[in-house]
């Protein structure tokens, strides 16, 4: 999309960067904490209170100068010059050596955002770091408490940020365990109390005990290489209620299991009892071949050998494009950048040369023609659309398969299709009267290939999508929409990350198909001669 500017390039806003911190930490008195000394002298206008996180967390064994009853609100904020109000994007790091300050690792993103008119903040959660486990609820709480601080500054007449924070446009971003934390924050933001776990009493989040009230109008939660389910609410795995975006690298040497895919699956999933009902939120993911875990944070050393991983500047560029597109589309109302989340090909010229990407996108406005979540029985057309699913020389099985080696119990069903000769076909026959084609602009499906023997190693997979109305059929090669990449099998078995293929209804019309009379959609496997693919769903979408 030539007319769009690369969101990874600096914008025109001048901005200021300040450190905010709670007084009295005196990190400088402890040699092991020398990296935190910068928080001993915050900007005088940006001195923050402390919070008591004891109901959620203890501290690890680093020689902190404070207890869990009085942890500081420290961070860095880059804010544009001008009247505002400006949207806010706040980053939280993940787990790392507590003696290394992880917080400045997202300043490269905060500075980019500020140059485009978005307040970028990166928060200190280092006191939760160490060989700890299960503390990601506390990471979410700390994240929300930082947002509260921005709300306070925004409403304080004498403060430099007075009236400059657009509290209706906030994105929370977390990396690693912080990425899991933003999911919990998204959930907690809507609660008035939480019983963190079976061993802890109920904690009010209404302000009566120091936490909350939150109730922020969160625009999105964004997770960078997140963990999943290390903290488990008593109510079950966290389902992110806000728009959810996810980015993860195929060479992640820490969260090598792509656990965030489970978070992604749980978010905005089809309600089989009310399949036409959408919660009004979108979700999008970007799977980056060659990216590792640590290089999304500019101060973390790489956890993988350089020869196996994309160079750090390239990985930071991918992050800038992805986060930049999110900021442009969701925070700055430049909806044209939403197309980048819908189809990463639009960002190809902005990305590092020769980087392979896989993306998924689910629009809030969608109806499923086939979602596969009814049962493990034979594939079917999903209600309320009426129709049948037929197989021709194709072995089809709906499976609870762990596509990405995420490890946790799998709750999302995927359709596996295997063929051994050209001409195999999955045919979805539809009753056109039940297909609400007129309300949607796109036929959208998710397909990915595996490392199973029937797929040639390191070769793209392909098939023909045939859409028919009456006697007219449009045949579209999947590869003309997107590559179906062979999994990155350099580490482990290779993860099956499905690609969303979005075919405009307009394109079908141009090929002679009458959109209001769609009678069938077929997957024709005519080249290569054999193979295995996995199908997540088939939707009509905007």
């Amino acid at each position: 999309m030539a007319e769009l500017k690369n969101p990874a390039l600096a914008g025109d806003f001048a901005f200021d960067t300040v450190i905010y911190a709670s007084a009295g930490s005196n990190y400088g008195t402890v040699p092991a904490l020398v990296q935190y000394k910068i928080y001993d002298t915050p900007d005088p206008a940006f001195i923050t209170p402390r919070i008591n996180i004891a109901p959620f967390a203890n501290l690890g064994s680093a020689p902190w100068t404070f207890a869990n009853t009085s942890v500081p609100l420290n961070g860095h904020v880059c804010f544009p010059r001008g009247r505002g109000p400006f949207p806010l994007m706040a980053f939280a790091h993940g787990n790392h050596s507590p003696l290394e300050n992880s917080t400045p690792g997202y300043l490269y993103l905060c500075q980019l955002l500020a140059s485009h008119g978005v307040i970028g903040a990166t928060i200190d959660v280092n006191f939760l770091n160490g060989f700890n486990f299960g503390e990601n609820d506390a990471r979410g709480i700390v994240h929300l408490e930082h947002l509260k601080q921005f709300r306070t500054w925004n409403s304080t007449a004498s403060h430099p940020l007075h009236g400059k924070v657009d509290l209706n446009r906030i994105v929370i971003v977390g990396h690693s365990r912080g990425g899991e934390g933003v999911g919990h924050a998204s959930l907690f933001n809507r609660l008035l109390s939480i019983k963190p776990d079976a061993l802890t009493p109920v904690v009010p989040l209404d302000g009566s005990a120091g936490f909350g009230p939150y109730r922020f109008n969160l625009t999105a939660a964004v997770a960078i290489a997140p963990t999943d389910r290390q903290y488990q609410p008593l109510t079950g795995p966290t389902v992110v209620p806000d728009t959810y975006c996810l980015i993860h690298g195929s060479r992640d040497g820490d969260v090598s299991s792509f656990e965030g895919y489970n978070t992604y699956n749980r978010a905005h999933a089809v309600d089989t009892a009310n399949p036409t009902v959408s919660d009004g939120e979108l979700k999008a993911l970007l799977w980056v071949y060659g990216a590792n875990h640590n290089q999304f944070n500019s101060v973390w050393g790489s956890e993988t050998p350089p020869a196996t991983t994309m160079p750090r500047p390239d990985q930071e560029l991918v992050a800038k494009v992805f986060l930049g597109a999110i900021a442009q589309s969701l925070l700055l109302d430049r909806s044209e950048y939403l197309e980048v989340l819908k189809d990463h090909r639009l960002a190809e010229t902005w990305m590092p040369v020769n980087v392979d990407l896989v993306s998924q996108y689910q629009d809030p406005e969608r109806v499923f023609l086939q979602h596969n979540q009814e049962s493990l029985l034979a594939p079917q057309v999903s209600l309320p659309v009426q129709g049948t699913a037929g197989l021709d020389a194709l072995v089809a099985a709906r499976q609870l398969k762990d596509l990405v080696n995420a490890g946790a119990p799998v709750t999302t069903i995927t359709l596996r299709l295997e063929w051994s000769a050209p001409g195999a076909r999955l045919l979805l026959k539809l009753d056109p009267g039940t297909v609400p084609m007129e309300r949607y602009e796109t036929l959208s499906l998710r397909v990915g290939q595996s490392t199973e023997a029937k797929n040639a190693a390191n070769r793209d997979q392909d098939f023909t999508l045939e859409v028919s109305s009456g006697s007219r059929t449009a045949a579209i090669l999947a590869s003309s929409v997107h590559r179906l990449l062979y999994p990155d099998a350099a580490v482990g078995a290779g993860k099956i990350v499905m690609q969303t293929l979005r075919v405009p209804i307009r394109q079908l019309s141009e090929l002679g198909v009458e959109p209001r009379d769609i009678r069938s959609i077929a997957f024709l496997f005519n080249r290569p001669a054999s193979g295995v693919v996995y199908v997540g769903d088939v939707q009509l979408s905007n």
Partner: protein, 175 residues
């Protein structure tokens, strides 16, 4: 990440003085469960041969089939805090296990000791209990060295304890 599971040397339960926040939470737990709960914080210390580096990846800790919601690093290993000794009584002698995924479990070879106080004995004298910071302070040393020292000292040290901490640890069971 296919990291190596932490090697557990021993486990002990140490009653400690509750913090103000602990006390408030104990009172609330007592109200929620509608039964009295001792005003003590039970620190379950799990001595590790080596403390692994801090990464995103982690190992969930189970006592029997119960997942311990959270644990924390201290210089000798990891610990978790229990405010309701009923939990310790219920899980006494249950095996400590690690899991990456909730499906596959790795036995540590140690079991959870009892609550360190029996229900028949008088209530703990909070004033005589050590502070949690005392319970959790061990000479901070480089982790590799630390592991060797812990391995050598873990068992004899337990027999030589004196004073209030020793009383508190009297019913400790080593592995």
């Amino acid at each position: 990440m296919a990291s190596t599971v932490p090697k557990v040397l021993s486990v002990e339960v140490v009653p400690a003085r509750p913090t103000d926040t602990d006390s408030a939470m104990i009172a609330q737990l007592a109200a929620e469960t509608d039964r009295p709960i001792s005003y003590a914080a039970f620190i379950v210390k799990i001595h590790l041969a080596t403390i692994p580096p801090a990464t995103a990846h982690g190992w969930a800790l189970y006592v029997g089939d119960t997942r311990i919601p959270k644990y924390w690093e201290y210089p000798g290993g990891i610990y978790f805090k229990v405010l309701d000794e009923e939990f310790l009584a219920e899980h006494q002698r249950h095996a400590l296990r690690f899991s990456e995924n909730g499906k596959d479990f790795i036995e540590t070879g140690v079991k959870l000791p009892g609550p360190a106080v029996s229900r028949e004995r008088p209530a703990l004298d909070v004033r005589r209990l050590p502070l949690q910071s005392e319970v959790l302070s061990e000479a901070a040393q480089p982790r590799g060295v630390r592991a060797r020292a812990a391995r050598k000292r873990a068992r004899p040290a337990a027999r030589k304890k004196t004073g209030s901490k020793a009383k508190a640890r009297k019913s400790r069971k080593s592995r």
